[in-house]
């Protein structure tokens, strides 16, 4: 069977996302758009993944849990885990390592923690813009050692990307690389390429996606498909 995956989405916890872009709304909209495996990866925090898991379970979609980490080089790196527990465990290390500057809501936006009913239950007071004190390559190894997927985000974006900030894509055991525009140079390269929505607002949900083949829409199928480069795209 072919499954539709979207491994890059934010919620109202990310300062740059819409305040009414709740994890439940993300899950509902993704289900509507035919996504089978959906990840929530807010900037440097997993505070909304419990609400996201409950929403995914309710709407009948496979949730993947993680963060979009800002490395010390200010490269964005997706860390994705099979369970909420694994993601929370890993996020403790990242939270401790963050440069914590007080958030200015007017300039950067709210960072709301919400429950599955879209009630605001808290707000992160330091700016989730980052960065961590850990380097890009160290974090790749760290994510993999926690059985997660390590995917450099939007490598072809002109800011906060491996190509823009590092100047090149270092050789490393990435689970995949994410691109906004598919590029033959990378499609023929050593890493599987995925496309994700990087949704910060409702209308972004499902704007980019990737397809994998497998028996069940679960994390193991996802991991195997990536390892086998068994991925395809909207044409």
């Amino acid at each position: 069977m072919r499954f539709s995956i979207d491994l890059h989405n934010h919620s109202c916890l990310s300062p740059c996302a819409d305040d009414d872009f709740y994890p439940s709304i993300l899950a509902l909209e993704a289900k509507d758009k035919g996504i089978d495996i959906l990840a929530l990866c807010d900037h440097n925090s997993t505070e909304n993944i419990i609400a996201f898991k409950e929403a995914c379970d309710l709407v009948g979609i496979t949730g993947i849990y993680g963060m979009e980490i800002t490395t010390i080089e200010e490269v964005h790196l997706l860390s994705l885990f099979e369970t909420v527990e694994a993601a929370l465990d890993f996020s403790e290390i990242i939270t401790e390592s963050l440069l914590k500057i007080e958030n200015n809501v007017r300039l950067f936006g709210h960072q709301h923690i919400v429950n599955v009913n879209c009630d605001i239950t808290g707000e992160v007071d330091y700016l989730l813009y980052g960065p961590s004190t850990y380097s890009f390559e160290y974090l790749i190894g760290l994510i993999l050692s926690y059985d997660g997927l390590a995917i450099p985000a939007h490598i072809d974006r002109p800011s906060n990307s491996a190509l823009a900030n590092l100047g090149f894509l270092p050789t490393a055991p990435y689970s995949a690389i994410e691109m906004i525009h598919l590029d033959r140079t990378y499609l023929d390269g050593p890493y599987p390429v995925v496309q994700g929505s990087d949704a910060h607002t409702l209308t972004h949900v499902g704007r980019r996606r990737t397809f994998i083949e497998g028996l069940r829409p679960d994390f193991s199928t996802l991991r195997c498909a990536l390892e086998a480069h068994n991925v395809s795209y909207l044409t």
Binding site: E74, L99, I101, N104, L107, F108, G130
Partner: protein
């Protein structure tokens, strides 16, 4: 004391936005890592960078910087221009490198003093 209008004229760079031409310029900070800029740039300085996106305007506003100089011909994204206009931060643009712009700014500020 140098204001941004005089500094921009002396530099001869393209003015992308300048809502408040009277704002004072005390000096400059050159950097592309915004977390580093946040920790080191100071009020009324010009930020010399290649980062032409909205977060640069937000960081500039947070620190009360007077303007952003975009180097190497980098374009300011539309949301950056809107944000800078709202916060009264000027954006200048040049084909020069950050190194050249830093030297030029230093010369202009000394001449205007």
């Amino acid at each position: 004391m140098a204001n941004i209008a005089k500094v921009a004229e002396a530099l001869g760079y393209t003015v992308v936005t300048m809502k408040d031409p009277e704002r004072n310029v005390s000096g400059g900070y050159t950097g592309d890592l915004l977390s580093d800029v946040m920790g080191h740039a100071e009020e009324d300085e010009l930020l010399i960078t290649i980062q032409g996106h909205k977060n640069t305007a937000a960081v500039a506003s947070l620190l009360s910087l007077t303007a952003i100089i975009l180097c190497n011909g980098r374009e300011a994204l539309q949301d950056m221009i809107e944000s800078a206009e709202m916060e009264g931060i000027a954006i200048l643009q040049t084909q020069e490198t950050q190194y050249q712009a830093s030297i030029r700014l230093d010369g202009v500020l000394k001449a205007l003093r």
